[in-house]
């Protein structure tokens, strides 16, 4: 312990903001609310930056750096501290969370300006920051779990922010409940860890894992890894638990950007990367992770192609990109996963915020079919969204290219991966490029179908579709207030919204440059930076059951002989991205009548995709309905009404009946009372005599 960085302040600062705004914000002016929220978030970001700078590898602070501020649970030998853990992995996470979080806070000031519940929004947002930072800074699984549940809570509150709208309230509940299924598995995983190592502290557990002999603990580690993986699948919206994320788009757009794209949903990836010591020793669990990630990536990408709601396209894109990260974890390329997590945080937050800016501009409309031609009307938004679209499509030298290429390369080369996983990943990359450019063309090119620029507010309101009614209404209000801007209908967002977009756009361009692979003349700094954290897996892997498996940090030494192959892989993925772009261009720009003809041709498949493969309906029929029936018939009517109410009512009616019978004794007849006294007296005497005889 060299220097005290007071890491506890990083999460607690936003908590203070949440407390002030949550308890007193009702009485504040909007400007005060946003000042408080921004101040504490900025402080947190500053503190995090300072801590990272002070603890930068090579300095006088040994990493991982642990700070314990107290004991939380103390039961026999088992203790859980309030401990914070700073290493290369949590450095990246904490900077992404506070940095992107701060930018989104700024954006929200503009975006939420005309919404009700302004203070509530910022209180929740700050609360989210607190829990997310707890999650990434905890030094044990239980404290991580606190953050894990807390971000779920914040997510629930923010998805259901427009709680008067039924669909928003339902979406909040859905997110919470689906997450709970994953959390259950996470808890079981933690119980297994406690049982075998008696502690949840990362250092104890990972040490314990690395000290197991190669053959030992295989089943145990696989079980733990699978439990953790399932928990991560819930939080990170993977098959089969991804269904909550698209619905989560009911929340305000900055929430979608912060929670459901950049930070919270990546918690599962973080958790797996954090637990790499366990996962790397459980190759079968890794296989499952890779397959789930791969399935999610392709599945969500195809669903994203048919969506018409701009936010839902991005939601499925998020699910798909998270699938990529899962896939990377599954081939033990944790560094690549974290790299993609970081770049994804930049460009996906940018996409969501850009989409928010578009929605803001067109008065709450979310249906892309009604958009178009916005390129000229909101040029700044157009340019930043363009940057983000190129970044996510994987075209060099934007950020997404390097991280995606890193993942695909690792999948191709890693012994855990394989050609099939790689091919699916590549196909997904093409689909990603296609649906993102589809969004881009539909939104920014062609004709504006809302009506012309001169159309006034009334037409906007009239054309607002039912499903976006609330947003539309609230934004239309915003418009009425914004009349002073003077453009009437579609207008560019205020600078307070555009400025964060520009910062994010910058990072969407340069964010990938920290991971330029050696084959392209870079040094893959991020891989080297993270390799100490993934070191446990390196050593473990050497002795792992699967001989010859590659270390997570192998990209540093291996690529020399394979650089041509890597370049070829990168070229392939760029080519695929361009093909995706070409088809999007062809279908949605050059010949916009083609999509209708194609969908008419393959009507069945189109409907299947449009309805998201009927997964929600399937879950409803296969799980929710039987569960509801079971609960109704067995648990409600049977156990609750039959057994529990039966016991309670039975006790009541039994005493009533007994009382009714005993009441007859009280006849009011004094001689019968006397007889009872006499009988009682006789019985006492008889007992005493019997006692005497027994002696």
């Amino acid at each position: 312990m060299t220097e005290n960085l007071h890491l506890w302040a990083i999460p607690l600062l936003p908590l203070a903001g949440a407390a002030i705004n949550g308890l007193l914000g009702r009485h504040f002016k909007n400007a005060v609310v946003s000042t408080v929220a921004l101040f504490f978030t900025a402080m947190s970001f500053g503190w995090a930056a300072w801590a990272v700078k002070s603890a930068w590898p090579g300095g006088n602070i040994a990493l991982p750096h642990t700070e314990t501020v107290g004991t939380w649970i103390w039961a026999g030998k088992f203790t859980v501290p309030f401990g914070f853990y700073l290493d290369q992995l949590s450095m990246i996470m904490v900077l992404v969370v506070t940095g992107v979080g701060f930018l989104i806070h700024i954006y929200s000031v503009g975006y939420m300006a005309h919404e009700g519940g302004y203070y509530r929004f910022f209180a929740y947002l700050n609360l989210f920051m607190f829990f997310m930072l707890t999650l990434v800074l905890a030094n044990n699984y239980l404290l991580m779990f606190v953050g894990w549940e807390g971000v779920g809570l914040a997510s629930y509150l923010l998805i259901g922010f427009f709680f008067l709208k039924d669909s928003a309230a339902d979406a909040g509940k859905k997110a919470f409940i689906v997450n709970r299924i994953g959390d259950f598995a996470f808890l079981i995983g933690m119980f297994l860890i406690i049982q075998h190592w008696g502690s949840l502290n990362y250092d104890v557990v990972f040490n314990g894992v690395s000290q197991l002999s190669p053959e030992a603990g295989w089943g145990l580690l696989t079980a733990i890894a699978l439990c953790l993986m399932f928990g991560a699948a819930g939080k990170s919206a993977q098959v089969p638990l991804y269904v909550w994320l698209p619905d989560a788009m009911e929340g305000p757009t900055p929430v979608s950007a912060l929670i459901h794209a950049a930070t919270m949903v990546t918690a599962g990836i973080y958790m797996i990367a954090r637990s790499n010591a366990i996962f790397s020793r459980a190759p079968h669990a890794l296989e499952v992770v890779a397959i789930i990630g791969c399935l999610t990536a392709i599945f969500a990408a195809t669903m994203g192609m048919a969506q018409t709601d701009i936010k839902r396209v991005l939601a499925y894109s998020t699910v798909s990109q998270l699938g990529y990260m899962f896939l990377a974890c599954g081939v033990a390329a944790y560094s690549a996963a974290i790299f993609h997590l970081m770049t994804h945080a930049f460009f996906k937050a940018l996409l969501f915020l850009g989409a928010g800016s578009v929605i803001h501009a067109v008065g709450g409309e979310q249906d892309m079919r009604r958009m178009g031609g916005l390129r000229k009307l909101i040029p700044r938004t157009f340019w930043v969204v363009t940057i983000a679209t190129i970044a996510i499509a994987g075209i060099p030298p934007f950020a997404g290219f390097f991280s995606k290429d890193e993942i695909l390369g690792q999948v191709f080369a890693s012994p855990h991966g394989g050609k099939i996983l790689w091919a699916v990943g590549l196909l997904t990359a093409g689909l990603t490029s296609f649906y993102m450019f589809r969004l881009w063309f539909m939104t920014f090119f062609g004709e504006l179908k809302l009506g012309s620029v001169d159309v006034g507010e009334e037409a906007h309101k009239a054309s607002a579709p039912a499903h976006a009614a609330h947003d539309a209404a609230s934004h239309a209000h915003g418009h009425a207030d914004d009349q002073s801007h003077g453009h009437g209908g579609v207008h560019e967002s205020p600078w307070i919204m555009i400025a964060p977009l520009m910062v994010l756009a910058l990072f969407s361009i340069v964010g990938g440059w920290v991971g330029v692979p050696a084959s392209m003349g870079g040094h893959n700094e991020i891989g080297n930076f993270l390799s100490p954290v993934m070191h446990a897996s390196t050593t473990a892997k050497i002795v792992a059951v699967e001989r010859g498996s590659e270390a997570a940090g192998h990209q540093t030494e291996e690529p020399k002989e394979n650089s041509s192959e890597e370049l070829m892989l990168a070229g392939t993925s760029v080519l695929v991205a361009l093909i995706g772009f070409y088809f999007a261009w062809l279908l949605y720009y050059k010949r916009p009548e083609l999509p209708d003809r194609i969908t008419a041709k393959i009507h069945g498949i189109y409907l299947l995709v449009l309805h998201k493969y009927y997964v929600d309906e399937g879950y409803g029929q296969l799980i929710v309905k039987p569960l509801l029936a079971l609960s109704t018939v067995v648990f409600w009517r049977g156990v609750d009404q039959g057994v529990i109410d039966g016991l309670v009512n039975g006790a009541g009616s039994a005493s009533k009946g007994i009382g009714g019978e005993l009441r007859r004794i009280q006849s009011g007849n004094i001689r019968s009372y006397a007889a009872w006294v006499a009988i009682g007296g006789a019985a006492v005497i008889a007992y005493m005599i019997w006692i005497g005889v027994a002696k």
Binding site: R663, Q666, S667, G668, N669, I670, R671, A674, A675, A678
Partner: protein
Amino acid sequence: MVPLSWYLILSAVLFCLGVLGFLLKRNIITIFMSIELMLNAVNLTFVAFANYWNAHGGLLPSGKPVVGLSGHVFVFFVMVVAAAEAAVGLAIIIAVFRTRETLNVDRVNLLKL
């Protein structure tokens, strides 16, 4: 000398008569008299035992000899209490008679549900 058991048998007979009178008679005055009979049956037991222990030098559980007059003293206590009780009881009987105009206990049965 009359043996102790004779006194006790007489006492038991008297007590049982009291009990039976209490249970079987309806007239409240007769019932009252039956109570007196029971009390006096007990008194007889007290004096009989007192006499018996005096004659045989019995010991208390604590090891001390039985003091000659303790049984007799209890009899006086019982008599005093019985007298007090008779006063209260007769007052109640008069009150009952005034309100119900009867001395039949079967008709004094207000104390029931």
